[in-house]
């Protein structure tokens, strides 16, 4: 018990929590926008992989770091366009298309990686985003280490969540997007295009997911590995449900989740970690996600038209 307390009181733990939460926040916001507009995007896992790969490759080829983020976002939006075209105007099964997009994006990354670097055995590294050194703030005790030694990309991730929340709930565009996921015929009656709104949401959301993936290669690990996303996309789908489709709650969910993740990593080094097989700790994030879904199952307000394709001709 005292081990846990000691971990929870250390600044490095909370700095890690914010670091681990950042990519989840980006991808969860991406999924949330899609689902708010009425489209379940199961391409998320693969789109995170393509974002991680393309962002890394661009920087490896000499682009600046933010250029890499832009490349990742564009690649994600491209796969988002594919997903949106098949699921929105054509109304195909969002489950099947989403899994297909995940498979296509993942295999495209592996294929392109092998083409670009045929002979490498250990993944080459890039120079990743560095912690910002802010005058005075970074030197504050505790808070300085937790908040003000993060990278610019981390700030960008949390900032984008604020932006998503503002646009969704404080602008006419956000209202229209949410209405497309709740009551599409009403949107159409207002003279707006449900197809356009939904496609736009899926494409933009996919861009955010890809940036979440790029965070892993450009800010967290500095190399690209095939298995690096490792189910984070699916966890983000669970976080959207856990956050009841509200950006603020979803961010809190991501932070809570990151806290458990950071805790399990540190617990492995304590006497408890020596007693339990390490796999138990690695399972924790997935088990937690399932528990979160169970916990929220009765309370969540699902967008009414989620997974319901809209076809103008039909009533």
């Amino acid at each position: 018990m005292s081990d846990i307390l000691e971990i929870l009181l250390s600044a490095s733990f909370w700095a890690a929590v914010i670091r681990i939460a950042a990519p989840l926040v980006l991808a969860t916001m991406g999924e949330l926008i899609c689902e708010r507009a009425g489209v379940l995007n199961l391409g998320i896992e693969g789109i995170m992989v393509i974002g991680a790969f393309t962002g890394w490759l661009a920087v490896y080829q000499g682009m600046p770091l933010w250029g890499g983020v832009g490349v990742a976002m564009s690649a994600g939006m491209l796969f988002g366009l594919l997903h949106a075209t098949l699921t929105v105007p054509f109304g195909l099964s969002q489950h099947v298309v989403g899994l297909g997009v995940t498979l296509l994006a993942t295999s495209t990354s592996s294929f392109a990686y092998r083409l670009a670097l045929p002979e490498v055995t250990s993944p080459p590294k890039i120079e990743p985003f560095q912690p910002l050194d802010l005058p005075i703030l970074s030197d504050l005790p505790f808070l300085g280490e937790v908040f003000f030694t993060q990278t610019a990309f981390t700030w960008f991730a949390f900032g984008s969540a604020v932006l998503v929340a503002l646009v969704l709930f404080r602008t006419p565009l956000g209202l229209a997007v949410r209405a497309a996921g709740e009551n599409p015929s009403a949107v159409e009656a207002q003279g707006l295009s449900v197809t356009g709104l939904r496609m736009g949401a899926v494409i933009f959301g996919s861009g955010l997911m890809a940036m979440g993936g790029a965070f892993l290669t450009l800010s967290a690990f500095s190399s690209f590995f095939f298995e690096m996303v490792n189910g984070r996309g699916w966890i983000c789908v669970a976080l959207v449900v856990f956050g009841a489709w509200m950006p603020g709650k979803a961010v809190l969910g991501a932070i809570l989740f990151a806290a458990f993740d950071a805790l399990q990593i540190r617990l492995q080094q304590t006497p408890l970690g020596a007693d339990l097989p390490y796999q138990v700790f690695l399972m924790a994030p997935y088990v937690l996600s399932i528990l979160a879904l169970i916990l929220m199952s009765r309370r969540a307000e699902v967008p009414a038209a989620l997974m319901t394709p809209y076809n103008k001709g039909e009533r």
């Binding site: 099947v96 789908v237 669970a238 169970i294 199952s297 009765r298 103008k312």
Partner: protein
């Protein structure tokens, strides 16, 4: 644009569009070959010869198709009832674990094969029962829970192979003890590198087909899948049907793991399945969820994998081309099938 149903789709439309989807996939393959600096025709040719060009290649393809028939059936059954079981990978490993637990001396030898098969199915069914109950009782979406279970199961297998099920003679390699000879599926003929699992998989496909088309459970399952509300209104016990479907689906997926261990590998290792559970989704969708067609699409998909491996060794195009082709084929095919029934109109 919007979609409008076509009252009586012509035969040309119903055959031509799926054929066009296949052609589109071949075009993608050629483009990828060009990207990799290889001759597209040579690459395509090497994939085909690598898959079916010799007796050895063909048997390798059929061996690879065996687990895919089982996982393809598992997905086809579940998706038919709109139960989104994406967890065939986890259920497969459950079956594999049981095959090793009971096949290394725990069961007297004359019964060992049927006993391990039955308990493997039970284990797979139990793995999917959890997510299915969460869906019917609490409304928890099964897509995410079954996906997450795959990761949990792989870690569990890793724990077993480094702990309680570790082969003491494994020289530090994480694998289980080998199955007893009696617990292994024999080869179909002496000197032929194909085991009875392939035949059992085909039998399973026929059994599933009969269950689906000829029993009241099969009828209820299809009713739940095609219109949940109407099925409930008509008095179909929808939750019970979903649970039963889950048990069948999980059991079928587990047989994939059981037959890989008992027929091919002889032991459990972490790389037993290179994603057979996920590939089962492609197999099932290409077969339009028809259990008999699953046999054909599983052989097709297995051929792409085996052929691409051979091609990759010869032409140097990365073997991941197989996954890209199958993902493209899946997306082209669902679009083509939609367009056989609907047409795009302006307005």
């Amino acid at each position: 644009m919007r979609l409008e149903p076509i009252p009586n789709p012509s035969l040309a439309r119903r055959l031509g569009l799926p054929a066009a989807a296949l052609v589109a996939t071949v075009v993608v393959a050629s483009l990828l070959a060009l990207l990799a600096g290889a001759n597209p025709l040579a690459v395509l040719g090497q994939i085909v010869t690598g898959a079916v060009g010799s007796k050895f290649a063909l048997l390798e393809t059929l061996n690879r198709a065996t687990p895919l028939i089982f996982t393809g059936l598992a997905v086809a059954v579940a998706f038919k009832a709109k139960l989104w079981n994406i967890g065939a990978e986890a259920q497969l490993y459950a079956g594999a674990i049981v095959a090793v637990l009971l096949g290394t001396g725990a069961v007297p030898s004359p019964f060992v094969l049927p006993v391990t098969a039955v308990f493997a199915m039970l284990a797979g069914a139990l793995v999917l029962l959890g997510p299915a109950l969460l869906k019917t009782r609490l409304g928890v979406d099964e897509v995410v829970t079954t996906l997450l279970f795959n990761f949990i199961m792989l870690l569990f297998v890793s724990y077993l192979l480094e702990g309680p099920m570790k082969d003491p003679m494994g020289m530090g390699w994480p694998k289980s003890e080998a199955l007893l000879k009696e617990a292994r599926l024999p080869r179909i003929a002496e000197g032929l590198r194909l085991h009875w699992g392939f035949v059992l998989a085909m039998i399973a496909a026929v059994v599933v087909y009969v269950i689906e088309r000829r029993t009241s459970f099969g009828f209820e399952m299809r009713a739940v899948g095609s219109n949940f509300g109407a099925a409930r209104f008509a008095g179909v016990p929808v939750n019970r049907v979903l649970i039963q479907t889950a048990l069948l689906s999980g059991g079928l997926a587990a047989l994939a793991g059981w037959s890989e261990v008992a027929g091919l590998k002889g032991h459990l290792s972490q790389d037993l399945s290179p994603g057979f559970g996920y590939t089962g989704i492609i197999v099932a969708m290409l077969a339009l969820l028809n259990p008999l067609a699953v046999i054909g699409t599983a052989i097709f998909v297995a051929g792409i994998f085996v052929g691409s491996d051979a091609m990759s060794r010869a032409a140097g195009v990365p073997t991941y081309i197989a996954d890209m082709l199958l993902a493209s084929a899946l997306l082209f095919m669902v679009l083509a099938i939609l367009l056989t029934k609907m047409r795009v109109v302006r307005g």
